[in-house]
Symmetry: C2
Subunit: 262 residues, 2 copies
């Protein structure tokens, strides 16, 4: 059972998620990950809180253990990578093993791949047909780019690693998932170093336990400063805390300006 | 004890690592991670195998549990983030707790920060001096950018999250660490889809168990194809396997060309 979803009384409804990136090529530095930033943004919009990300190798035991652990801990798990036609694509079999399920060709996946192969004139050999396999009982995730689908087993959503396909699958999938209360944010930029606002900021944080205040120093174009980001589900409380932060910056002799938080 | 370092007989010497990115701002998508790709590349050069990456929130229990788990599993652990002066910077205290150590101002860190503050005319208030705190008995990692150092406790190496400082710390740190046998790689690009080479590639992989063969489809500039990356510690075996891959591509009617693997 997810541990972080006990919603007591009138508190915000919290829906949590983890993201597993499966791929030796990310760990070796050969491929630079482009999927984390994308899904992180999309989950915020969907009202789902991304709590943890793991990058693991194409290793059956690692995949099985990680899927089991995170499936039990969070409401949703998303994965990317390892669902192609080659010998190193072991995500499908490993996820099936994590849930003690068999693997077989999914009739609807076979149909979609045949239709796509006919359209683009590709020979559907045995290796390609491996991409129509899913754990038994899986639901499919539409792949509008190249047909070979992703799939869902329990709360685990398995998607491709190629960013163009991953992004298309996420866009198909997220509207079908239940989100919680959306987290709003206000970002206040200042021309002060973090050290100047640190003490006052700690005091404001203590007065607003429902708001998470993050402090992010920046150095750019020869200037330095700090952006303070406040997050919370209740807009009125968020705005009150933000106004205290703006006042703190002015009290310290700085300039405060709200910035787009993205 | 690390589990993945039992070097038996004449096999390659394997040194493993994990990387922990600590920061709500990465999970919320606000900040796009720039440190994973950098350290992945640097570790390959240093002969250290990055086996796992986790992105976790600024939460004491999460940091303590993750540091303990990965410190026990791998030879080295590297962390980024959460060592600034503000209330949300809890990495130092959390790492100390993971190893049941106290926290105090490190005399050499205080000295370096005083010298730097004098140079740049910054007031060293209490909040800034928090950055001179380390777990008891820690060694320092030089910060050539802004003085506030990283630190080492047992096999855990704690560094800043700001990419410019993180990168400088990694460059200072890695030459001091013991690497294992370096992994060499050969990347062969082809104009064939993954499905065309998948079966033959599986057969080559079975004949060369000491070589890891990865298959990475690409779509770019209107063309598609597959890059096959072979990795191993012994150059002669690697080259023999690569020649089989080139021949497989030619047998399938494709063009094979070696590409720079980075």
């Amino acid at each position: 059972m997810p541990t972080d979803t006990a919603n007591t009384g009138a508190g915000p409804e919290i829906v949590t998620a983890a993201f597993i990136i499966i791929g030796d090529e990310i760990l070796s530095g050969r491929t630079k990950d482009a999927n984390l930033g994308f899904i992180a943004d999309e989950l915020v919009e969907a009202g789902i809180r991304l709590k943890e990300v793991r990058v693991i190798s194409d290793d059956e035991d690692e995949i099985v253990d990680t899927v089991r652990a995170l499936s039990a801990k969070y409401d949703y798990v998303f994965t990317s990578g390892g669902i192609g036609p080659t010998h190193d694509d072991i995500t499908c079999d490993s996820v099936a093993k994590a849930f003690d399920r068999g693997v077989s060709h999914h009739p609807e996946a076979v149909k979609r791949m045949r239709a796509h192969a006919g359209d683009v004139g590709v020979d559907l050999n045995e290796a390609r047909m491996r991409m129509a396999r899913t754990p038994d009982g899986a639901e499919l995730i539409l792949n509008p780019v190249s047909a070979a689908p992703g799939f869902i087993v329990e709360n685990v959503h398995v998607m491709a690693g190629v960013p163009r396909i991953f992004q298309a699958m996420v866009k198909e999938l997220l509207p079908t998932l239940k989100g919680g209360d959306k987290i709003h944010s206000i970002a206040v930029s200042s021309n002060l170093g973090e050290g100047r606002v640190a003490t006052g900021l700690g005091e404001i944080q203590a007065r607003y336990p429902a708001i998470a205040i993050g402090s992010y120093p920046y150095f750019r174009a020869g200037n330095y400063g700090t952006t303070l980001v406040l997050r919370g589900t209740e807009m009125a409380v968020l705005e009150a805390a933000a106004e205290e932060v703006r006042q703190l910056i002015r009290d310290q002799g700085g300039d405060a300006s709200d910035v787009e938080d993205n």
